[in-house]
Amino acid sequence: MALLQISEPGQSTNPHEHRLAAGIDLGTTNSLIASVKSGLAETLADEQGNHTLPSVVRYTEKEIIVGEIAKLAASEDPLNTISSVKRYMGRGLNDINELGGRRPYEFVDTDSAVPRIHTVAGDVSPVEVSAEILKSLKQRAEASLGGSLTGVVITVPAYFDDAQRQATKDAGKLAGLNVLRLLNEPTAAAVAYGLDKSAEGIIAVYDLGGGTFDISILRLNKGVFEVMATAGDTALGGDDFDYAVAKWIMDEAGIHDDTSHHQMRRLMRDACAAKETLTTAEVAKINIELDDGSTWSGSLTLDTFNKLISPLIQKTLLPCRRALRDAGVEVSEVQSVVMVGGSTRVPDVRAKVGAFFDQEPLTDINPDTVVAMGAAIQADILAGNKPDDDLLLLDVIPLSLGLETMGGLVEKVISRNTTIPVARAQDFTTFKDGQTAMSIHALQGERELVSDCRSLGRFALHEIPPMVAGAARIRVTFQVDADGLLSVTAREETTGVESGIEVKPSYGLTDTEIETMLRDSIEHAEDDVAARMLREQQVEAERVLEALEAALADDGDLLSQEERKEIDLVADKLRDLSKGNELRAIKDAMAELDKTATEFVARRMDGNIKKALAGHNVNEF
């Protein structure tokens, strides 16, 4: 009798088998991971049964600790215990200083565009800190699901700019995750809520988390979730409520601004506790242990608390107004307001949002888990577990994208709230005879001056064919993909020569930096770097072959016998090579297969488009 073949858990190559996928809510204060099990999305618990993982990472000389245990050490070891790192993602040192409040870490200025935090275990970037949180969630999911993850969807605030998104994706990569998609948090919440309640029509998602605020207006129609507009503030959240309360305690107790890091952390912890008490009580008692050993006691009434946070809530209503206008929607057209994020538990937030939208906001869904659940639903579909699902998410770019022109002005190329993916081309010409290079400065924001917008990076074009000044026509295409990430390509139109492009991100890690971090982290885990890279390439090859097989099964008739033979030949070659251990050869064979299948892929896509409209009346031209 033949031996039974058993594949590694989670790495089955059978296309009909369930692939393990998860949705990750990488939050400012807490993170969650969820997965779809027997058709239902649920958050996954650790061995102790905890679902939320505090987004806190503690570095010691020996090890890296993530979560609850790290959080407990925050006031005892403040400089090596990093919390709210999401606030620093995709930010430069100058931004961090502008965030306001006292930052309880030692930031180190480096040659890199990305600042580092000094710890006993060395200097770490916010991306690496986030990667530790993701690694911990990955381990939890793999233990809970009993296999390795095929891919994940990580959520980001809708109002995150390009640099913040890129940083999040880099963190996923560093954690050894296959990031299928970055999904906007309010959109994720809308998916979980919409599918659960079979909602249709226009909804508003008000998402106030620990450190970020988003408002999205969506239209739900038969499984299509269309974001009409989004607005927000990536530096506003429950942390700011805590800070306002901490400030109040300091004033009342006579604690000065230059108090110790320990004292500051204790204050923030007690302020947060008082805020939580006030979600159900009228008054919160506060006892503060001072540095000199004495104690201060006081009480914070709900009334005083509401006054303290009132300007912060007000700050969220302006984006609400703007999002409605950009969506072209009146308050009366909004059918429901979905409240997301722990900070929407604050009674006055609910009251003010209710007053603004002129209706009772929905609070019957769990504001802490809904984002992770929505992400899990999308991850399940993207992983290929539900090939016939008609769920479609159409999201938008939150901030306008522009270029620097003469005189420090910004010319808008793509306006905010344009549906993604989007591509726009802009033509440029040379200024001097024989010029072969030029630099393009890309920015994000709504203002006219370069200095008021956020610099994304500089794209240096080279290999422009030398011509007389003004003769070259360089078409630069800016593309924003479904993750909201920008890429740039350039081509000289009269000669058809593609220009080389070098990207210098203003606030991001360079490819080399990521490579180095990746190597370090693998070495740290005492893994074999080469073996891991080979394994990843093999999985990639398997994925491509599997996708090709499925495509050939569906649309093989688009090819002549000759063409089919050619594709099969190259595919077989890749299949053989992927069983071996020559990384380079596998890569080359994949590139060859890509090239051979170009025409097939294009025909298939056109065929899809034709089929999509087949149900409509064909209008005669």
Partner: protein, 182 residues
């Protein structure tokens, strides 16, 4: 090959200024369901790239066809009307005078007792003018192939519309400022 396809062809619609927006958005959703990158998450790099390109092209076509102003301009471009020279285009003095007045009214808002109310009035005014120009554009474009005089007329109208849009944006910006101060 694909580049030669017009937005109307992509949506399998006849070239016409009158579009059923409900039908258009249904076609849009069906097209996106067929090409969106989320449907190709497991495909080869090449297929994923192509899907992003197609999805972007469909988004672009949809935005153009959805907006009457962009649709009008696009229909003129299909008839080889170029908008490169519009900066030199002479607009009638009466229209320009109105524009200046509206602009001044916007600039003087902060001096008014009820700036928000005055602003609402101005925005309503802009909307009415825009609607009027739109119906004029529609009348011209309905006849299909335009002669040179008609082309020049519609071009003028599209140009006016752009002026009004700028004004509208300016008004919205002012509104944001006013609300910010409250």
């Amino acid at each position: 090959m694909a580049q030669a396809q017009t937005h109307f062809e992509l949506f399998e619609l006849p070239v016409s200024f009158d579009i059923d927006l409900q039908d258009l958005s249904q076609r849009y959703r069906d097209l996106q369901s067929a090409v969106h990158p989320d449907k190709f998450a497991n495909a080869s790099d090449q297929e994923r790239r192509l899907s992003v390109e197609k999805a972007a092209a469909i988004n672009d076509a949809y935005q153009t066809l959805k907006s009457p102003q962009h649709r009008a301009r696009y229909m003129l471009e299909l008839q080889s009307v170029s908008f490169d020279d519009e900066k030199d285009m002479a607009l009638d003095p009466a229209f320009l005078m109105e524009q200046i007045e509206l602009r001044e009214a916007l600039a003087e808002l902060s001096e008014k007792d009820e700036p928000l109310e005055s602003l609402n009035k101005i925005m309503k005014d802009i909307k009415q003018r825009t609607d009027k120009i739109l119906s004029e554009i529609r009348e011209q474009l309905i006849s299909g192939q335009l002669d040179e005089t008609q082309k020049s007329n519609v071009k003028q109208l599209v140009h006016k519309m752009q002026f009004l849009n700028k004004l509208q944006q300016e008004a919205e910006y002012q509104e944001e400022n006013l609300l910010d101060m409250i």
